[in-house]
């Protein structure tokens, strides 16, 4: 009788202990998830709060329409357009490089490469995204501009948007190539056979069947790559310079939104000043733009994912 009671007691303790452990794991996993969500909320809240201080001094209309950004000078203008212009110009150059190259790499990987070639080339292409961006930055400044671009373009400045855009373009090739390749891999093999059976050549299959069938995935890859280009900081800060002037000459130095943030954040703008607050306003603006682009990109990816 006594022995039975002990064993029942033992069993009960064991069950209690395991129930307790189960609970602990649940809380642990939940907390980990909350940390990342909380990080996002805190970032948005901080940016919003500090920007609120900025927009108490500066009207949104001036921020969005004035063509001068002279926050760090004595006579202050608060038009974000020069920064936005530099960001968009460099990103457009980057996309002009990465979209065609990335799509062609994806077509090569999915339609032409053997399994062996693919297993070597794909990781190699993806390595491009793993190179520290600071390396791209000084490569643009000390190699691309003087050795590649300067011989072709006399009037090129040492810091210029062109080199920045080109290097960001190389950086984001893997984004386009990898997502486009996934989209092409999702095109049913049936469609390729159907194309071959009416007398298509490989290039017909690639360009007239696979590419159109994967178009939403390819578009999404380009949108996501563009968002990444807009957020790129190191290359723009190192090779683009700190000249916040509205110009469309890509051979000139111009400051992107990210480069401005990097400049102010690494400088000594005192807490609470308008210079300090401007950093958050620009950051919030950039975050909103890239968030919208990411949202559109993800929506487009989803549409393609359920198509077949």
């Amino acid at each position: 009788m006594v022995a039975e009671t002990t064993s029942v007691e033992k069993l009960k303790r064991s069950i209690d202990r395991r129930r307790y452990m189960d609970r602990i794991f649940y809380i642990l996993f939940l907390l980990s998830t909350l940390v990342s969500t909380a990080a996002l909320i805190i970032i948005f809240a901080t940016l919003g709060l500090e920007s609120f201080g900025f927009f108490a001094h500066v009207s949104i209309v001036e921020f969005l329409t004035s063509t001068k950004w002279t926050v760090l000078f004595a006579e202050k203008h608060f038009g974000v357009l020069p920064l936005l212009n530099a960001t968009i110009l460099t990103s457009l150059i980057a996309i002009a490089v990465a979209a065609p190259l990335g799509v062609m790499i994806a077509l090569f990987l999915s339609e032409y490469a053997s399994a062996n070639t693919r297993s070597v080339v794909k990781p190699l292409v993806e390595t491009l995204a793993g190179i520290p961006t600071v390396v791209y930055g000084y490569f643009a400044l000390y190699f691309v501009t003087p050795n590649l671009l300067k011989p072709l373009w006399e009037g090129l400045q040492l810091h210029n948007a062109l080199a920045v855009g080109l290097m960001i373009g190389v950086l984001i090739i893997p984004i386009v190539a990898s997502i486009s390749d996934d989209a092409m891999a999702a095109v049913p093999a049936d469609l390729r056979l159907a194309a071959y059976a009416v007398g298509s050549r490989k290039s017909d299959v690639a360009l007239r069947v696979v590419l159109p069938a994967a178009l939403s995935g390819v578009s999404a890859s380009i949108i996501l790559a563009f968002a990444r280009a807009m957020g790129e900081t190191m290359i723009a800060a190192i090779a683009g310079g700190f000249r916040s002037i509205l110009t469309f000459n890509i051979g000139e130095s111009m400051q992107t939104m990210t480069a401005y943030i990097a400049q102010v954040a690494t400088g000594d703008a005192p807490h609470g000043t308008i210079e300090y607050q401007s950093l958050f306003a620009v950051g919030l603006f950039l975050l909103v733009i890239t968030a919208v682009l990411n949202y559109i990109g993800i929506r487009v990816v989803r549409r393609w994912a359920i198509k077949y």
């Binding site: 469609l191 056979l193 159907a194 194309a195 059976a197 009416v198 007398g199 050549r201 017909d204």
Partner: protein
Amino acid sequence: MAIESYNQLLRDYVELGKEEMADISGPEVVRVENLRVDYGGKTAIDGINISFKRNNITAIIGPSGCGKSTLLRSINRMNDLIPGAKVTGKVYFNGIDIYSRDVDPVFIRSRIGMVFQRPNPFPFSIFDNVAFGLRVNGFKLSKSELYEKVKDALVKAALWDEVKDRLDKHAYSLSGGQQQRLCIARALAVDPEVLLLDEPTVSLDPISTARIESLLRSIKDEYTIIIVTHNMLQAARVSDYTAVMMPDENMVGRIIEFGETRQIFTNPRDKRTEDYISGRIG
């Protein structure tokens, strides 16, 4: 372009040695001699000898895994697309060995079209699906000529009346049976001589199946049709000739009997054919 000029074109590409040229007089369009296909070292079919007559429907029947589809894919060199596939023996198309070195498999496929088990329209409009083959084959057509060719193909595929008002609609808006007829129209649009069908109704309901069978009978005067099916009643309904395939003891597919469909179904010579068509095996 007339069939004769296509065949001349085909001959122009091939430097004909005597052994490559078979007798092309007579009604044979396709002749298969001693065909053997291996996939990655494993023999799928072997010792295949069969010929297909112009403007006839020939059915290839047999249990799953007997190599029916493999044989079919050998006739328009679709096996080339399967890594590790090796074809030995001869396949003559209008007297030309399509596996001889100078023959362009892409050109062969534009002359010998194919329809697959499951409808596989492109994710384009109905019109663009049918026009696809015309475009990739570089036909120089005006807009109205293109329209006429597309219409022709859709009429032959018995789909025109159902889609004539919505040619710009997405192909996926069609039902499964309509999609399969669209695929037949797509194959017919490039005006092939031979049409290969690999179990084309296996995923369709009986009504859609009946429509496809009747359209095949209605176009056989213009094409040579080879249809793989494991529906024996379908073979009996649509075909003029029937080949029965069966795996041997090493699981290598072979033709065990070939003849007029009526004879195969009423008076089979091979005991295994009799067992198969009466449902005792397969």
